[in-house]
């Protein structure tokens, strides 16, 4: 017979092993190694915290009392698992993409981040979870007492052992559940330890079962005979309970906080569901396989009145198989501890996130200034929450006295937690579900559950017998276990039927009648259409791969150089083991800050979340991004204006280019013209100078004549060069004007006399000298140059028999207009437009000049702020000169 001391030693050894496993797994995960920690096998095994001590011990007890009814508790989850494709897959996708931390968070998030709902769910979960924890403590205590009864030393004291067990579990949960604050709320250490425990409990139960079938009954055949011959040997399951319990267990499987924790929160890869879909039902099947044989054999061989809940332990003991009993004890211990740890973790997350933190933040007065220190507060809140929840469980156990009342607590907790189901399923599949609806449904279901099941189950303390039997205030149709006068139902079935149906009706009706807030509607769309909105989160291929992704993204935003520098610096900060830093929270925070400088805080947050959390953008992120987009829109408006400006500039440039090309062509043609004008006199000069050099027999007349030609042509060249220089000075604008005062009359006098002097041709100049007494303030020499040009043109080109030039002047409001009209044939219409161009000459006579005269006139008049134009329809050639009376600098 194993002594209690050995038992305690084994227990402690087992706990130390769990600590070691959890610690090693955390270390491996932190180092980015141990991909098997995130395998689908670990995931499936971690789901088995569904099988608590209530399963381990209670299933056999249940089978001994009601036959096959116990199996409903495992058939429900099986149905849920095999419908993973449209059920759990969506739940997990939503949970992961919205970084949901608990079932309360999910419900609250779906219904517009309503904290009221979160608090409701949290209260419900704590109310349902506390007795459940007490149940686990009881099972451990009971199993201890079995060994203690057999131990003669009698040192065992029940109360203190329960306390130490509760304290130990609390320490474990605190150590591994709140060691760090992972953004994804994943705890590799705890999950791995749980997986180990689930192997242990399955192995223990299978071992006991095999021992019973082959060791006690003597094989499968005899076992079957024995089953049929036993007092539970026939199918006599209540149909209502059968259906209800399958449904209830299915609902609880999804809604239980601890199940949500391992199934959704700790999920690292959606693909794991594929494996779990068949592996977890298989696990449940194996767990259930030997339950009936153990129960039947226990009923057979154990003395009348022994507790069937402990057959798993007592049957091997009674057969003297101490080591098997020890294994069985460890299996039960495993079931209880794993459930308590995960429940405590899940509940503490809910309590701290939805109750403690909101209160703390509101006492801090404004959340804007809260910085990274919140992490400490959150961790502290969780640790205290775990301790408080464990203490609640402990006190519940002590107060309830650990009696048989606890046995039914498992189902009662199931029924309570199942009240979340309508809000959860409705939230996932019905866009019309609203916060009001969820609140109404939850409240109705919760109250009915308390009224019809929880209070009557707790005995006469909280609910008087009179109420139970004749209803409150004598209203018999309100009797807790026979609502609306429908009697004779099993209390469980009664509660589940009424609470869930009224819950659902309230949920639907209130949803239909209420109108959701915009945030709620956005969330609804995101949840219900999660497969349209989110990409399938990839499996975690290790954190270094994430760092690479982050690196690539950062390069795109910051540019390659700064990104490399930043990552290098971070890697060195972390110890410089690798070239890329590990994506620790601190690093991610700094990276986010770095990126937000470039792309805005919300976008940076969403981008990093996308890579690290495998999560999609939350609505708050979206709203913030929308704000940033508005700014971007404004910015793009500015860009558009700039782009229009650029287009304008480009057009101007194109125009300038065209102009330049034209100018270049003009320059070419000008040079060509200049070349022609220079070469022509040169040809004559060269030809005649060669003639005079080479020809001996030239007559003196010829010599004189040829020398005269050479002289004329040389003069022509000089004139041409003078004109060219003059024009280039005028065109370049570098000409300096000598502004002086005089009358128009004296300027014309000088021009006429200088032109007509020394010429053999005759030209009569007609003037009205009285009209010419106009005072001018301008460059008089330049103006005179224009007049000389015009008069000499008339002198040269006027083809009348008696050439006449009429010069008339008018004062036209600040301007003086002088017309030069001769009596010749004028300039042909086709040439009028080009007379002012350089080298433009009308008619065949070239001897007069290079054709630059009028071009120079035009330039001069522009400089003087006036103009020169050809006047058609005056009989002969007619030019009009117009200039301001007073020269203005601005005219330049």
């Amino acid at each position: 017979m194993a002594t209690l001391n050995v038992l305690i030693l084994v227990c402690l050894g087992y706990v130390v092993l769990l600590f070691g496993v959890a610690f090693a797994a955390d270390r491996l995960a932190a180092a980015g190694k141990g991909a098997w920690l995130r395998s689908s096998l670990i995931y499936t095994l971690s789901l088995s915290i569904y099988c608590t001590a209530w399963t381990f011990y209670g299933a056999v007890g249940n089978a001994a009392r009601s036959g096959l009814e116990f199996v409903t508790i495992y058939l429900g989850p099986t149905l849920v698992m095999i419908s993973w494709w449209w059920g759990l897959r969506k739940l997990v996708r939503v949970g992961r993409s919205h970084r949901v931390t608990s079932i309360a968070d999910l419900i609250s998030s779906r219904y517009g981040k309503s904290n009221t709902l979160a608090i409701c769910v949290t209260i419900l979960a704590v109310l349902g979870g506390t007795p459940y924890i007490a149940l686990q403590l009881q099972s451990i205590t009971l199993s201890f007492s079995i060994f203690a009864d057999a131990d003669p030393s009698g040192l065992y004291r029940e109360g203190s052992s329960v306390f130490w067990v509760a304290a130990g579990l609390a320490v474990f949960a605190i150590l591994f559940g709140t060691r760090n604050l992972d953004a994804n709320e994943r705890h590799h250490g705890v999950v791995t330890a749980i997986a180990l425990e689930s192997v242990v409990k399955l192995f223990a139960l299978l071992a006991v079962g095999a021992f019973v079938v082959w060791g006690v009954a003597g094989g499968v055949g005899p076992m079957m005979d024995r089953i049929d011959a036993s007092e539970i040997g026939h199918w006599n399951v209540d149909t209502g309970r059968w259906t209800t319990f399958i449904f209830l267990s299915a609902a609880a499987f999804v809604c239980l906080p601890r199940m949500f924790q391992v199934m959704v929160v700790e999920n690292t890869d959606e693909g794991h569901l594929r494996t779990a879909a068949w592996a977890f039902p298989l696990y449940l099947l194996l767990i259930s396989l030997f339950v009936v044989p153990i129960a039947v054999v226990g009923l057979d061989i154990m003395p009348e009145g022994s507790n069937p809940d402990l057959f798993v332990l007592t049957v091997p003991l009674s057969q003297g198989n101490d080591w098997l009993a020890m294994l069985s004890f460890i299996g039960g211990f495993s079931s209880a501890t794993s459930m308590v740890i995960v429940t405590a973790m899940a509940l503490s997350t809910m309590v701290s996130n939805h109750v403690v933190m909101p209160i703390w933040l509101s006492t801090q007065g404004g959340s804007g200034s809260v910085s990274g220190d919140v992490r400490h507060i959150v961790l502290l809140a969780r640790r205290i929450s775990i301790a408080v929840i464990m203490a609640l469980g402990f006190f519940y156990y002590r107060l309830s006295g650990g009696g048989a009342a606890l046995a039914s607590i498992g189902l009662i907790a199931f029924a309570g937690i199942a009240q979340i189901l309508p809000a959860l399923v409705g939230g996932l599949f019905w866009r019309g579900a609203t916060r009001t609806g969820a609140l109404a449904g939850l409240t109705v279901g919760f109250l009915l559950w308390i009224y019809t099941l929880l209070l009557p189950g707790m005995g006469g303390v909280l609910m008087p017998e009179s109420v139970l039997h004749s209803g409150p205030f004598g209203l018999s149709w309100l009797r807790p276990q026979a609502l609306f006068g429908i009697e004779g139902m099993d209390p469980m079935v009664h509660t589940v039927m009424w609470s869930l149906s009224l819950n659902t009706i309230a949920f639907c009706v209130a949803s239909l009648l209420s109108f959701p807030s915009p945030l709620e509607r956005l969330q609804a769309a995101q949840f219900v259409n999660v497969f349209d909105h989110s990409v399938a989160p990839r499996g975690w291929t290790g954190s270094v791969a994430q760092s690479e992704d982050l690196m690539i993204m950062t390069q795109r935003i910051l540019g390659a150089g700064p990104a490399h520098e930043f990552f290098q610096a971070e890697a060195e900060k972390q110890g410089g083991r690798a070239s890329l830093p590990e994506p620790t929270p601190a690093f991610l925070e700094r990276l986010e800050r770095e990126l937000s400088g470039s792309v805005g805080a919300a976008t940076a947050h969403a981008m990093i979340g996308q890579i690290v959390g495998g999560s999609s953008v939350s609505v708050e992120d979206l709203l913030a991004v929308a704000d940033e987009s508005a700014q971007l829109l404004e910015y793009s408006g500015q860009l558009e204006a700039k782009s229009a400006e650029l287009t304008r500039t480009a057009r101007q440039l194109r125009e300038a280019n065209t102009k330049l090309t034209q100018i270049s062509e003009q320059k070419d043609s000008f040079l060509s013209q200049v070349s022609h004008e220079l070469r022509t006199p040169m040809t004559s000069i060269r030809a005649f100078s060669e003639i005079m050099r080479d020809t001996d027999e030239l007559s003196p007349e010829e010599q004189t004549r040829y020398a005269a030609i050479i002289h004329d042509e040389a003069l022509r060249l000089t004139r041409l060069l003078d004109d060219l220089l003059d024009l280039s000075v005028l065109e370049s604008g570098r000409v300096s004007l000598n502004v002086g005062d005089d009358t128009l009359r004296s300027v014309l006098d000088r021009a006429v006399s200088s032109t007509l002097a020394g010429t053999s041709k005759t030209l009569t100049v007609r003037r009205t000298k009285a009209a010419e007494r106009i005072p001018l303030q301008t460059d008089l020499d330049r103006l005179g140059q224009v007049f000389i040009n015009l008069i000499s043109n008339a002198l040269k080109y006027c083809d009348a028999d008696e050439p006449e030039l009429t010069i008339s002047a008018h004062d036209v409001g600040g301007h003086v207009v002088i017309d030069f009209v001769d009596n010749g044939s004028g300039i042909p219409p086709g040439s009028r437009s080009v007379v002012f161009e350089k080298f433009a000459r009308v008619g065949g006579d070239k001897a007069g000049g290079a054709g630059l005269g009028l071009a120079i006139c035009r330039e001069i008049m522009q400089r003087l702020g006036g103009e020169i134009m050809y006047l058609p329809g005056q009989g002969g050639a007619a030019f009009r000169v117009r200039l301001p009376l007073a020269y203005q600098q601005a005219a330049q």
Partner: protein, 126 residues
């Protein structure tokens, strides 16, 4: 046998110099200063050699040459072209139009005379 040259040139001084030089070589020189009616003048004069300026009033030397080469009986007429513009493009155009010799002003007298002699020699040989 008298050799006849037709000189179409609008610069009177240049025309006079060429006339002087060619007369001394034994040429009979006719001059004309207009482009527009040049073809007719050529046909009437039917010279042994044509000296043609490019820049002419009315019609450019290039056009005259082009039109001239269109005429069947003018295919073999040697044409010496003179230009003051001196651009390679003009030389190409003139060669395409069927010029016999192309000279840029100002030219040396001996050069011009050699060209005239060569052209005449070629024309008489063929």
């Amino acid at each position: 046998m008298s050799r006849k040259v037709l000189l179409i040139e609008d610069e009177p001084n240049i025309a006079e110099a060429i006339r002087f030089l060619l007369t001394r070589e034994g040429w009979q020189v006719e001059t004309h200063a207009e482009g527009a009616d040049a073809l007719q003048v050529i046909r009437v004069a039917s010279p042994d050699l044509l000296i043609l300026d490019v820049m002419l009033p009315g019609k450019s030397g290039m056009e005259i040459l082009r039109d001239l080469r269109e005429l069947e009986d003018m295919q073999g007429l040697p044409v010496l072209m003179l230009t003051a513009r001196g651009q390679t493009r003009d030389r190409e155009m003139a060669e395409n139009a069927g010029v016999s010799r192309f000279m840029t002003k100002p030219f040396s007298n001996s050069e011009m005379l050699t060209a005239v002699r060569d052209l005449h020699a070629q024309a008489t040989q063929s």
